[in-house]
Symmetry: D3
Subunit: 157 residues, 6 copies
Amino acid sequence: MLTHIDENGNARMVDITEKDKTFRVAEAQGSIIASKKIIQSVLKNINKKGDVLTVAKISGIQGAKRTSDLIPLCHSISLDSITVDFKIFEESFEIQCIAVAKCSGSTGVEMEAMTAVSISLLTVYDMCKGIDKGMIINNIILTKKTGGASGTWEKVK
Amino acid sequence: MLTHIDENGNARMVDITEKDKTFRVAEAQGSIIASKKIIQSVLKNINKKGDVLTVAKISGIQGAKRTSDLIPLCHSISLDSITVDFKIFEESFEIQCIAVAKCSGSTGVEMEAMTAVSISLLTVYDMCKGIDKGMIINNIILTKKTGGASGTWEKVK
Amino acid sequence: MLTHIDENGNARMVDITEKDKTFRVAEAQGSIIASKKIIQSVLKNINKKGDVLTVAKISGIQGAKRTSDLIPLCHSISLDSITVDFKIFEESFEIQCIAVAKCSGSTGVEMEAMTAVSISLLTVYDMCKGIDKGMIINNIILTKKTGGASGTWEKVK
Amino acid sequence: MLTHIDENGNARMVDITEKDKTFRVAEAQGSIIASKKIIQSVLKNINKKGDVLTVAKISGIQGAKRTSDLIPLCHSISLDSITVDFKIFEESFEIQCIAVAKCSGSTGVEMEAMTAVSISLLTVYDMCKGIDKGMIINNIILTKKTGGASGTWEKVK
Amino acid sequence: MLTHIDENGNARMVDITEKDKTFRVAEAQGSIIASKKIIQSVLKNINKKGDVLTVAKISGIQGAKRTSDLIPLCHSISLDSITVDFKIFEESFEIQCIAVAKCSGSTGVEMEAMTAVSISLLTVYDMCKGIDKGMIINNIILTKKTGGASGTWEKVK
Amino acid sequence: MLTHIDENGNARMVDITEKDKTFRVAEAQGSIIASKKIIQSVLKNINKKGDVLTVAKISGIQGAKRTSDLIPLCHSISLDSITVDFKIFEESFEIQCIAVAKCSGSTGVEMEAMTAVSISLLTVYDMCKGIDKGMIINNIILTKKTGGASGTWEKVK
């Protein structure tokens, strides 16, 4: 069942009036596949403790806070915490972004974690596209969520 | 060279004062891979001319207009046009999103097209996650851009 | 007494520190009066399960979530639910919009329901103005509210 | 023809690439009908040079600047000017709001003027609803627009 | 210790999951030093019960509600109250702005009060800069905060 | 004359219809005075090429792009460039922020530069307030502006 679609096929926001407030966590991740040159530039920038991934992280955190403004049927949520981290896999030319969102509320924070990853990777794309526009944003997934009526869920690997 | 990073490794917005105003187009695409059940639900909703992809499209259009608010070092751009379309590949359980952005200005609209695709796919995720949270947002790429000093660029397939 | 005006005639936000958190609902409605040609086009679009009213609905939902950003002295509220629906009265050339907002909080959701109706009708105007700019947005009223210290209120008909 | 709907009934933003940049003006108006007590309170506040209509005006100006963020298929426009004014008709218990928007651009400013009026009247409603929630927002219309390919249009009285 | 910086020097949002919800208040203030001519114009406008300080106040209230959107590592907070007031010191050519923010929540409202003061003073600057651009925004400080684990704090004079 | 106030003392946005599009630059600066401990922590973070000033810079750039949303009577401007830089004066316990905004348009970018400085300093305050809340944001001034009908202006030292 599409929960955001009523019996007539029309979009709707889910009514969370009856839902309990519970502690909820969601983890998401995704990657950008880039050219060797980009990966080396980013690594060099990191080695210089430069700004590329910091700017990307900040954009992801701010994007997460704006999730209900971006995704039409999302509820406004006061996040207790949102973290955004990166791992670089040199051999696969891959920059991985991992986000974890937490709240105590009546609805989950899956979209906040997914949005943080998406916006962070778009920002990496923006900052590196001067070198090569052929980057691929890939494999954005929810890896885990806990809390709420449906309890814990983990992505099958 | 990372154009958004100065010689000291610090982030910066590119100064476009000297850039010519030209007509610019950017095309991007990406996909969401979903379970058979989700694909069937979306198709059924489409067959009923339902709302899932309309809501996703609207979110992508609005996201594109907000690109400079989301991506820290992007310039504000007045888009002449932004289109968002979807194709469903039933056999590969894939919903593909294609966005085309156009402007007449001093800087490109690649990020507007990429942002439209990303936000649209996040909205599809949001609306279908009640069925199955295991969807994968995949392969978000710039496919083509024209205009500007660097001229036409196409993604090598 | 103008609750948003202090004894010196100056604007102020109401301090809701002492107000109880209660479950609150507000319903509002309003109409757009259009030409026969517009009503027929919208009906035809609906018969084709087209997008006009879906786009209007989404804009109303998003507008409701942004109420405190639009109306200077409104408090930020986490809505539990906001619904936007339409009725078409062919004989009076009228598209009616009905919104219902719900929250559990210290202040009411009247403005969220009123804003949802207003923005939805503006979006209908925008999408139909290519046919005829003479439409009239009319009769936007609060029809009912429940909850809070002042309890239930209904518009006298 | 619904210009924001394509031949398949799907929503779209109009592509303004080929449109000429011309000087454009749009005027809109609308009213709020209130109880005698509200009208007297607002007049008293005005006589004291109080804040009610100033706050409403500011909200309308800011709303106009955010039109493309609120109305999904509107283009971003840099307004040259937006004015919001009020007239009070004591005998008919009516506060009328008049907005005039101006730009030099490829698309009209009708929605900016209509949005300014709508948000201003919502703000009047918000500030006066403590006295009486039975106010009616009424008769929001475009009165005139000039410029653009379709030239001058005036509302038939 | 920089609470927004982890042990590796990287920015982070503070996780407030474990923090108690308490009633919190923060007071901030700041000034703008202007020319005699500006101070006289503002006073004349106030004597006429004009709009300068009302517009500045509204901008500060709206800015406070948007704090988490402006300050990257701030949490979204539902303010119970935000007040913005002004004092004019004619002899020192000084317009002082005082803001008080209140909430019941897991994190403080210092930044909301500080942001209200900053945006209000920027708006005074904007409205008066036609007379003289040499104004100085000065001495923006937190004067007091109460509530939360760290309790009451007052600025040493 | 207060350019944003009409002859009746009412606020208004300046109509820039008749103004020429010229190249315009504005420079602003301001400081935050902090405790020795904060200055040492920030310097240590910088020596580690940490994030404090990068986050502050990004917030200032994003704030500058949102100026017309924050300052009620500002026009929307497409910035060609906005830079934000910092200098640390160890002996006076001072972190100075300098912003330069550029555009080609009909109205100046003074408020964009001033807003960038204000938001950047608020972000420094936010990130350092865990050490000591007694910081002072000081001396935010426009230092220079060029372009437009009124030509070049420089702050008298």
